[in-house]
């Protein structure tokens, strides 16, 4: 009896030490990952507040001696030609990404719901073909889509980008949301229908609120995809006033000189909407992971 009592706690301590060992190596790993991802961003920020000369100095200054917001002022000044361009690109990106996001939610929600709830002939085949698009690299479709867009007269319009981004974003959005609807017990809708709701009311009043985290995740996914996309925007648009940010930012490179602080300031401001979006909505992601109020 006494030997058991003595050895049991010791075994537990050893196990705790082993867990602590893992935890610490995990923490060190995370610190490295954080540095790896944060350093370029810190570098971007520090360069954006340097003067043109300081930005190209060697050895580099980690933090500028004379920080300046001149690049930001230039970019946000509508009187200045650089500022005019930047604000226009920003607006274009915002417009294309927002329209893409709204449309993809409008299409993905009912599509995912139908795939999740209804049994219809060809359901599996259709679902497979929806996902099929994602099995090929996006570049493959560049030329065919360009020819298609030219044929229907959409080249040099934002519509061409919205359509393209939708075809890229929807499959994953539908797949993601279907997972959400699969996890909402069908009995909730049945209960609502018995309680006096129509099928549509049951969807709007009961199912939609429960799938909010999924809808938001889908929206963020579409928005970021559209916001960051480069190749299609570069190919489909040629008029300066239509360019989106990823393409427009290239304007900071010219044959002889590159305005590095300006480029970095523009890059920083381009990342702001995405970061803000994430910060504001991240609790929904957490909720999406912890939601489990219903007994299965």
């Amino acid at each position: 009896m006494s030997t058991l009592a003595e050895t049991a706690p010791r075994g537990r301590t050893r196990r705790r030490m082993r867990i602590d060992g893992w935890r610490w190596s995990g923490r060190i790993f995370l610190v490295f990952m954080l540095l790896y991802t944060a350093l370029p961003m810190i570098w971007m920020l520090s360069t954006s507040i340097k003067s043109g000369f300081a930005a190209t100095q060697f050895p580099p200054q980690w933090w500028p001696d004379e920080p300046t917001l001149a690049s930001y002022q230039k970019l946000l000044d509508p009187q200045n030609s650089v500022g005019q361009d930047f604000l226009r690109f920003f607006w274009n990106s915002l417009f294309v990404s927002t329209v893409t996001t709204i449309l993809s939610v409008i299409v993905a929600v009912p599509a995912a719901y139908a795939f999740s709830r209804f049994r219809f002939p060809g359901r599996n085949f259709l679902f497979f073909t929806v996902l099929l698009r994602n099995m090929f690299p996006a570049v493959i479709f560049l030329v065919p889509l360009f020819i298609l867009m030219r044929a229907i007269g959409l080249v040099n319009t934002h519509g061409s980008l919205v359509l393209t981004y939708l075809t890229f974003g929807l499959p994953l959005a539908i797949w993601l949301l279907k997972g959400f609807y699969d996890n909402i017990p069908v009995q909730l809708e049945q209960a609502a229908r018995i309680d006096g709701a129509t099928r549509f009311q049951a969807f709007i009043l009961i199912v939609m609120p429960l799938s909010t985290p999924g809808i938001i995740a889908t929206a963020i996914y579409s928005f970021i995809g559209a916001w960051n996309e480069y190749i299609y925007a570069y190919t489909f648009l040629s008029k300066n006033e239509q360019l989106t940010l990823p393409v427009g930012i290239q304007r900071f490179f010219s044959e002889n000189t590159t305005d590095f602080p300006g480029l970095m300031a523009a890059s920083f401001m381009m990342s702001v909407p995405v970061v803000v979006l994430f910060l504001v909505l991240q609790r929904y992601f957490v909720r999406a992971l912890t939601e489990g109020a219903v007994k299965h």
Partner: protein, 365 residues
Amino acid sequence: MAHVVLKDLVKTYGGFKAVNDVSLTVNDGEFVALVGPSGCGKTTTLNLVAGLIPVTSGDIVIGDRVVNDLDPKDRDIAMVFQNYALYPQKSVYKNLAFPLQMRKLPGDEIDRKVKEAARVLDMTHLLERKPRELSGGQQQRVALGRALVRDPAVFLMDEPLSNLDAKLRVQMRSEIKRFHQDLKATIIYVTHDQLEAVTMADKMAVMNGGYLLQYDSPAQVFAHPVNMFVASFIGSPAMSLIPLEASTANGNTVLTGAEGWSLELSPRNVQKVAGATTGKVVLGARHSTIKLHKSAVPGSVPARAYTVEPTGDVTFVQALLSGAIVNISVSPNMAVAPDEQIWLEFDQERLHLFDGETETALKAD
């Protein structure tokens, strides 16, 4: 409240018949249990009554209306689900208010009815909580409250107790029974637990493979099962079914076991055996109708004890007889050892005889 009539109800999925020509009448204020093993069609039948799935053929009448083509919301029913199906984003109050809001009742009336239901079910203190903050029993009670707040014509309950632990299940069982007695509600209750059906229902409908096998009071079903399936499904421990061979020699009909012993039958049971399609007859007996003897007595047959399970009040002995396991309950004072030679005496008045081919109960003229 209202009565419910199912007329030749059929539901097929592709070629699969989930519900097969089910006809039954639930009278006003009656508590009917649909009981059977999983996949027997009982939940499908309930969903047909609720209108959650369309009928393939047949009619469903609630009150005096044929409701085949009505939406669930127009059938004046309430349903309690196995997983309770409480709206997770709504508080208990809002869960209870939802069916009333959907029927566009005035706000003060909703408030009054919700509070009344909460009072009846003793959960006034829970009204502001979310379902996930409640215990299983409390969730179950909210589900019940959401059904009764509206005063529907029929209550449908789909295994409402199966997610509760054993102790709570017994407690909620009597609460639902009480609820039925107080409200004189028409209730259709689906369960795979025959004990729930037997203890709660006025009538039980035993289903298997989509067919309605027997529809009668629990006492009748218990005493006169129509076939071997019903016999073995209702009652715990299950009725023992022993395959035997009937033979007549010198005008004397006996049943012979695989071990070679033969059992003489009462005149009434001889009559029953005469109706069998072949010589194969299955003898059914409940544990309490078999007497265990330590030595041979007239009318007893030899068997071998297999396991002995004392439960305190009563000891269950399983014995091997003619290739079947026979359950016998004996007084805890009686010492029986495994592998001991014992003799079993069947109560001729209370034993059941089934046709070995068709598995249906044999009847005397």
